[in-house]
């Protein structure tokens, strides 16, 4: 399946907004690594070309935690489009992540 082509078509039909995502992690823990891997895969699959992702390591910049009300780690924050959404956990459940980000999955019904 040519997922890239389809996403391009969709983008053409209705110009989707840009997704501004932030992933908060604490160092190179197993959960952080898993979460980052999961997120990259999901974004590439469903939001290819329409997202920007920033990874924030709170062990290096702890002062950033309060701004987005980060408590649990890892936390994925959808800063744009509004409203702000948060997904906590290692993002292992793709379906939940998509629901959380309010993204229509690409290639529905195909495997």
């Amino acid at each position: 399946m040519s997922s890239a082509a389809e996403s391009y078509v969709r983008q053409d039909m209705a110009p989707s907004p840009l997704f501004e995502l932030r992933l908060y992690v604490a160092g190179q823990t197993a959960k952080s690594v898993t979460a980052f891997a999961n997120l990259q895969r999901i974004c590439e699959t469903h939001l290819s070309g329409r997202y920007c992702l920033e990874v924030i390591d709170l062990t290096k910049t702890p002062q950033l935690a309060a701004g987005d009300q980060i408590l649990a780690l890892p936390t994925l924050v959808r800063r744009l489009p509004e409203p702000i959404k948060k997904i906590i956990g290692d993002l292992s459940n793709e379906e939940k992540v998509l629901v959380g980000l309010d993204v229509k999955p690409v290639g529905l019904g195909t495997s």
């Binding site: 649990a72 936390t75 906590i88 959380g100």
Partner: protein, 594 residues
């Protein structure tokens, strides 16, 4: 300040004299909260978390805020306040009424405020996670200001925000462990649970060192706050429930046992304004700074007596403060004028302050705060509370006594003479109504008891000194007379087996006078009778004596007559014998005659 100085402050604490003499096995962090340090024997366990549990509005947050503020300002221990319910701005506004400026302290980097907020609706959960973010935030705040104290208020909000309770519980356990490892003296607040549970989500499971329970109970429609140290591992602590208040100067616990009774005493005497009452009190009145209880049933003149004391103080040029809980200010001024006490000029020139309020307006700890504030601001030398019985309407003495004790202590410390009036419950003089005062009377130095005496179709007032510490005082009952000329005490009539007062006394005194006159007349009559009788008897004696004398003379005359006859006879016999030449004999014996 450097760490050495901080340690020195903490290290010196256990040596401070506290009521609970515990060995300094456990290092304690003073809270700086009035009374609480005394109950806990020096403060909260240093470097450990303490759970403060209580229902909504019981003052958990206030306690926690004051703990931080005092720590930052008095003990040089900066603190982090992590709040889960209110925002930093809300909290800052809320505690401004207590005189705490969190914004200023935050600017000085003495306090760090962090509002942790989770909106359940915007959170999706997928897969494994932990609360490392909370740790990082807390750790960052602690490092930024070099905090020694931490408050989590209230961490239970997380239970509503995070769906996975298993993770949350294990993370909380880790959090408290972490706080201990970092040596933070922490307060964790928790909402009171159902039934016997201390907290709703069982936080006591994680915080095992010290648990303080706050409580707000409504009794007789008036609420009272109470504090109890439920548990304090490794140290002795006061186990009672202590009433506390949140006033303009912060949190204040009323430790019943903290009365060290070490205030200064004065030998100076303060006249009561009623001369004869002063006479009853060793001739000079009460001691300055002592407490006087004036108790009696309705209408016995308690308020008037208190007003008299107030007026007398003003006449001496001293400030006086009257707390009235029954009458309005204008009403007091008007009513007191009827018994010859004019308070108006003193109010006008600022020597006298009248404070009227309804006792039911607030709980008595709140009243106490108001009193504290007014006394502190006005600095009077005499304070009257009229009446305390109304102010402390609660039925149990156990509840009233600590509050009153605290008030009396405070006034004593300030060397303020205090007058408390108290309405005795129960009937007239028949039963002993004063016994209802037994609870508070032990706090008083002087106790004046006013009584109504009903007799002979009228009611009269009597007064006596039930006790007066440290001075000779009269044991006499006096009649207490209120008139438009003022207050006066009159000796009562003690006749037979009862005390007479009022017109009965006057009538009895008149009768007495009449009887005395009659008696005197009677005596004189008797004396006169006696005198005349004596005269009669004396005359009789004279007559008898004359008779005796007459008889004596007669006898003498007869005897002398008889002897002259005998002599003549004897002479004749001698003549005859000589003529016969023999010896004269007579009656069988011979007689030689010279």
């Amino acid at each position: 300040m450097n760490k050495g100085a901080r340690r020195a402050i903490r290290g010196s604490w256990p040596r401070r004299t506290t009521l609970i003499d515990s060995l300094p096995v456990l290092s304690k962090a003073p809270t700086g909260i009035e009374g609480l340090d005394e109950i806990t024997g020096g403060g909260l366990p240093a470097g450990r978390p303490t759970l403060v549990a209580g229902s909504a509005g019981s003052g958990k947050t206030m306690l926690a805020v004051e703990f931080l503020v005092r720590g930052a300002t008095q003990f040089d221990e900066p603190g982090v306040f992590m709040m889960f319910e209110e925002s930093a701005a809300e909290l800052t506004n809320n505690v401004r009424s207590l005189g705490f400026d969190l914004a200023e302290l935050a600017a000085q980097k003495k306090i760090a405020l962090d509002h942790v907020h989770i909106e359940r609706s915007e959170i999706e959960e997928t897969g494994e996670y932990d609360l490392e973010g909370l740790f990082i935030r807390l750790g960052h705040a602690i490092d930024t200001i070099g905090a020694k104290r931490v408050v989590l208020d209230t961490v239970e909000a997380l239970f509503a925000g995070l769906p996975n309770q298993a993770i949350l519980r294990s993370e909380l356990r880790r959090l408290f462990r972490w706080l201990k490892d970092r040596g933070m003296t922490a307060i964790v607040t928790g909402e009171k649970g159902e039934g016997n549970a201390i907290t709703r989500y069982g936080l006591e499971e994680y915080v095992a060192d010290c648990v303080i329970v706050l409580d707000q109970r409504v009794q007789e429609q008036i609420s009272t706050r109470r504090l109890r140290v439920l548990k304090y591992r490794g140290t002795a602590h006061g186990t009672n429930e202590y009433p506390f208040l949140i006033g303009a100067h912060g949190f204040s616990v009323l430790p019943v046992t903290s009365v060290l009774l070490d205030h200064e005493v004065s030998m100076e005497r303060v006249p009561t304004g009623v001369t004869r009452l002063d006479e009853m009190l060793g001739g000079q009145g009460v001691f300055r700074g002592s407490s006087v209880l004036v108790s009696g049933s309705a209408g016995t003149g308690k308020s008037s007596l208190a007003a008299k004391l107030i007026e007398t103080a003003c006449q001496r040029g001293e400030r006086a403060l009257l707390f009235a809980y029954e009458e309005s200010t204008a009403q007091i001024v008007r009513n007191m004028r009827s018994v010859g006490i004019d308070l108006q000029p003193w109010v006008a020139n600022g020597l006298l302050k009248l404070h009227s309020s309804r006792p039911t307006l607030q709980g008595h700890e709140q009243h106490l705060v108001v009193m504290h504030d007014l006394v502190r601001a006005f600095r009077p030398s005499v304070v009257a509370v009229d009446p305390i019985s109304n102010l402390f309407m609660a039925h149990d003495d156990a509840d009233v006594k600590p509050t009153l004790m605290r008030l009396i202590d405070f006034l004593k410390k300030e060397q303020i003479t205090a007058v408390f009036t108290s309405l005795t419950s129960g009937g007239e003089a028949s039963s002993a109504p004063e016994d209802s005062q037994a609870g508070v009377s032990s706090l008083m130095d002087t106790w004046l008891l006013l009584r109504n005496v009903e007799f002979n179709g009228e009611r009269n007032r009597t007064i006596f000194v039930r006790k007066s510490r440290g001075m000779a005082h009269s044991n006499q009952v006096r009649e207490f007379v209120l008139s438009d000329k003022g207050i006066d005490l009159v000796d009562v009539y003690l006749g037979g087996d009862h005390v007479l007062t009022g017109s009965a006394r006057i009538a009895r005194e008149a009768r007495e006078r009449v009887a005395t006159t009659l008696h005197e007349q009677d005596h004189q009559r008797k004396l006169r009778q006696l005198a005349s009788k004596r005269k009669a008897i004396e005359a009789q004696i004279a007559a008898l004596q004359a008779e005796v004398e007459a008889e004596t003379e007669e006898v003498h005359f007869a005897i002398s007559q008889e002897s002259s006859v005998e002599n003549t006879a004897w002479h004749d016999m001698g003549v005859m014998a000589r003529q016969r030449g023999g010896v004269p004999r007579s009656n069988g014996h011979t007689k030689e005659r010279p």
